[in-house]
């Protein structure tokens, strides 16, 4: 391997410090024994974590967020499977425009999506609740699911399916017993990514949630009260660990997916 120029290498190190600066503060202040978030630090405590156990609003927000994230992940992944399969295996009229429409939320500012949905719901007289948030989250998660699953469906050897059909398996049976096992790691990766995106999404939830807060909406409300900040840091630290665990599982299944469809894992 060539040695990088010193200037480039120093830049990379400084840039990494910049990228990690905010995250590094999270554990520091989550365990800091002071209700003021500032330096110098005063001592070690785990009280902020214990305090989270008795926050009833937090528990409700967490429950709402879990319901929303699981539902949105499952439905977006179903949409992702349908779209990826259609794009990889079929040629049909209006293929490109319909694909563009499904991927469009990726290229729109979230506030536009939130506002547009809010207008429709108000005009239709539908009251806001966690289901309206789910609708919004399906919309923004589906493109991610499609991009994960498209390569899984596209790289799959077509002759395997044909063999299954020729040997007398029905279309549904072929999907269940041949195609699905091959794309399963991709499906799990998609579920995890959609779950994580939905769990962290704030703007759309902020617009579309009624009286029931989601986790980010709860955090947003707490940020106004300086006395609540250390426990929010503790909560943030737990969420970070949770995301990292999910990310590790995601990476494992993504690699499995690439091995199963016969690609060298990258």
């Amino acid at each position: 391997m060539k040695k990088p120029p010193l200037l480039l290498f120093s830049f990379v190190i400084i840039y990494l410090v910049f990228l990690y600066a905010p995250v590094m503060l999270l554990p520091i202040f989550a365990f800091n024994d002071s209700s003021i978030i500032a330096f110098p630090l005063s001592g070690f405590t785990a009280d902020w974590f214990v305090g989270l156990l008795s926050e009833n609003t937090l528990h409700r927000a967490l429950k709402n967020s879990l319901i929303i994230a699981i539902t949105a992940a499952v439905i977006s992944t179903c949409f992702g499977i349908l779209t990826a399969r259609a794009m990889a295996r079929h040629n049909f009229l209006g293929k490109r425009p319909s694909f563009g429409l499904i991927m469009a939320p990726l290229f729109l500012p979230e506030i536009i999506i939130g506002v547009a949905l809010l207008i429709v719901l108000i005009q239709l007289g539908i009251s806001l609740n966690i289901w309206t948030v789910i609708l919004g989250h399906i919309l923004i998660c589906t493109p991610f699911s499609v991009s994960i699953l498209y390569s899984a469906f596209n790289n799959m050897d077509k002759s395997i399916e044909e063999a299954s059909l020729d040997l007398g398996e029905t279309r549904f049976g072929t999907f269940r017993r041949v195609i699905f096992p091959l794309v399963k790691p991709g499906v799990i990766a998609s579920l995890l990514i959609c779950f994580t995106i939905s769990l962290d999404e704030f703007v759309i939830a902020f617009f579309l949630t009624g009286v029931e807060p989601t986790l980010p909406v709860y955090i947003w409300a707490q940020l106004r009260f300086p006395s609540k900040l250390p426990s929010i840091m503790a909560l943030g630290f737990i969420l970070l660990l949770l995301s990292l665990i999910l990310l590790a599982i995601f990476e494992y299944y993504r690699r499995r997916s690439e091995t199963l469809i016969g690609k060298q894992p990258s």
């Binding site: 990088p4 480039l8 910049f18 202040f29 536009i112 547009a116 955090i219 943030g236 969420l239």
Partner: protein, 299 residues
Amino acid sequence: MSINTTVFMSSIIRKINASLAGWRLIGTPFLFGFLLLVAPLFLMIALSFWTQDYLDLDRTPSLNNYRDIFSHPVYVMLIKRSVIISLIVTVTTVLLAFPMAYYISFYGGRYKAIWLFLITIPFWTSYLLRIFLWKIILGYNGVVNSGLQSLNLIEEPLSFILYNANAVVIALAHAWAPFAILPIFVALERIDRSMLEAAKDLGDTAIRSFIRVTLPLAMPGIVSAALIVFIPTIGDYVTPKLVGGKDGLMVANMIQVQFSKANNAPLGAALAITSLLTVLLISLGFLFFNRRYLRKQSS
């Protein structure tokens, strides 16, 4: 019926069948997207031509909202400021991301995947908290100020780094970093290394071959990085609200106010449409100039 027409008919039928098979799959997600994205956007356009009359909605079409936007300096100023902040964020993010992507692609060796992983880890923290933590870093007794003070570099805490547009730029350049690094990295990976060797063998200096070979070939990645950062940041709500102070507020904050406190949804819709069109126009202009640049490079 002649054989030709039969063949023709059967090919049409086959095409229709293939279309049906495709649509049976994509139909549901398409319908969902249509009902929850296209229809709402059209309703938003319609709403922007209606007028809020205290509690009632006046549905006679008019240009009043747009006239309001362009006659009140505050709206024009907010849109202008959002565009300028987004442009600065885009340029900063891409400029910082490029050397990082270049390093991983050219010097990453066996550890490319680990480098990419290393870059994405910080971004699995809640978005809200990441932006909020910048407040702690840049604040009056924040990390930067207390650090500089303890080093005796400054006497008074710096105040120009929080609650203004600078803070918004720093926080956003951080938040969108991986979205800029990844597409540039992918473009750099696609460059055929033998072309760089050819340039070197033919006597180009390192800088010249960078400008004449690497940069034009990396351009598609740079363009997608720029658009991926530019389009969403213009509508960012959280960052200006948390670290922007009064002088760093952007158009999304005003849109939210119109839909809540000000109770003027039509004006909010008109603001949203105006910003969306502005983004679209700038992005198209950018793509146009990029195409001219690439054509000039290849000729």
